[in-house]
Symmetry: C2
Subunit: 229 residues, 2 copies
């Protein structure tokens, strides 16, 4: 009887993923129509139950892959939601994760199969259970993370213009930023490579493309920086 915890309650544990994407319309979140009861047909975060053989991170990666086909995605654990009545069917504790993906990369067929849709964060529908609270929390965390880690690049294509980067940060922080100040702050971090290549789609003059230089970033042992925008 010593080597177990038999008298203790066991519960269901799930993960829910807040998946952020960014396109020229702004910051978006990927939602699905829930395909099982209860609340079938309502908008919901992507989730799944934890299996005994995987960690929470593993479960979140599995869920994300199932709905987007993506792997090797930036993902961070947010918070555990545990109100007793949060799921009306059975006692379920859910651990929320948020993920940042390049919106161009995901598998659109998979998205359609699951009746998933991208929503602007400013036009989110009502979600099931406490999912709206999770989303609000994720947005707060993303805003904070922006000032301590170069997470923005996760949401952009590999090559991007300064304007795209600026608009991304404006979308995340929900405020206008001064173009010149923004660029000089980004440049002072010294973690971008300017390419000899221009994006000619957005203007006649064309604007230089940049890439995030992960090696340079790692080389500085910058496990965090401070970026005040």
């Amino acid at each position: 009887m010593l080597n177990n915890y038999n008298t203790e309650d066991k519960v269901l544990l799930s993960v829910d993923c807040i998946i952020f994407g960014f396109d020229n319309e702004g910051l978006k979140i990927l939602l699905i129509k829930r395909d099982f009861e209860p609340e079938k047909g309502k908008w919901s975060l992507m989730g799944g139950f934890l299996k005994k053989s995987e960690s929470l991170n593993g479960a979140a990666i599995r869920v994300l892959n199932r709905y987007t086909g993506l792997q090797d995605i930036y993902m961070e654990q947010l918070y555990a939601y545990s109100e007793v009545d949060r799921d009306p069917v059975d006692r379920t504790i859910s651990v929320a994760f948020y993920a940042l993906i390049n919106i161009e990369n995901h598998n659109t067929a998979l998205i359609q199969d699951h009746e998933a849709e991208w929503f602007s964060i400013s036009k989110m529908p009502k979600l099931i259970f406490d999912h709206n609270e999770m989303v609000a929390h994720a947005i707060r965390r993303l805003r904070y993370r922006t000032s301590t880690k170069p997470v923005g690049f996760e949401l952009l294509p590999e090559k991007f213009t300064m304007r795209q980067l600026l608009e991304l940060y404006e979308a995340i922080l929900d405020k206008e930023l001064d173009k010149r100040n923004f660029i000089s702050k980004i440049n002072s971090l010294d973690i971008l490579v300017k390419l000899n290549e221009k994006d000619m789609l957005s203007s006649r003059k064309g604007s230089y493309l940049y890439m995030f230089d992960k090696e340079k970033y790692d080389a500085k042992l910058l496990n965090h920086f401070v970026l005040n925008l």
Copy 2:
């Protein structure tokens, strides 16, 4: 069969509490000798299993009360630890919380009953499982929280001197602070009341006692501030 999740795995969920206290020797953590197998007799965080009828917060409050006799304590959820083999006995996911208590207030009899002891954070023993990792995480979070919320006051007696406050912040941040700069930054937040009362124990001259003014703080709708020390 629709209104349940019968086919899903259920797991054990526990909470572990990192309890911080502060005295004139520095920042401390309350640990217990684990009183059941496995790892019985080893140093451990205070923990307990989640019951079906309570939230994680509820469980953490219950555990904290059981070991310290305290209620209405500042507490914050940290992170969910879920490596598959983190507990050798049974699959257990643990959600860590940290709490800040006034070290003078707790019930010393209870502490003795449980063979609990205060350890300086610089002299922590090896703990069971992944508890050392939890502690490291809690210290990081506390350092960050210090710059966004007036959490320091939770660790001090109701009335305290500027020197105590300074030494507390030095202990949390693990660096020396300039006395004059510190005091003027704290004063500029305008959330303290200076009392007409001196602490005569620490010097011949005596030093004024202060209290945290929660009403003033709330009145400013300061859900967070920035304090760069």
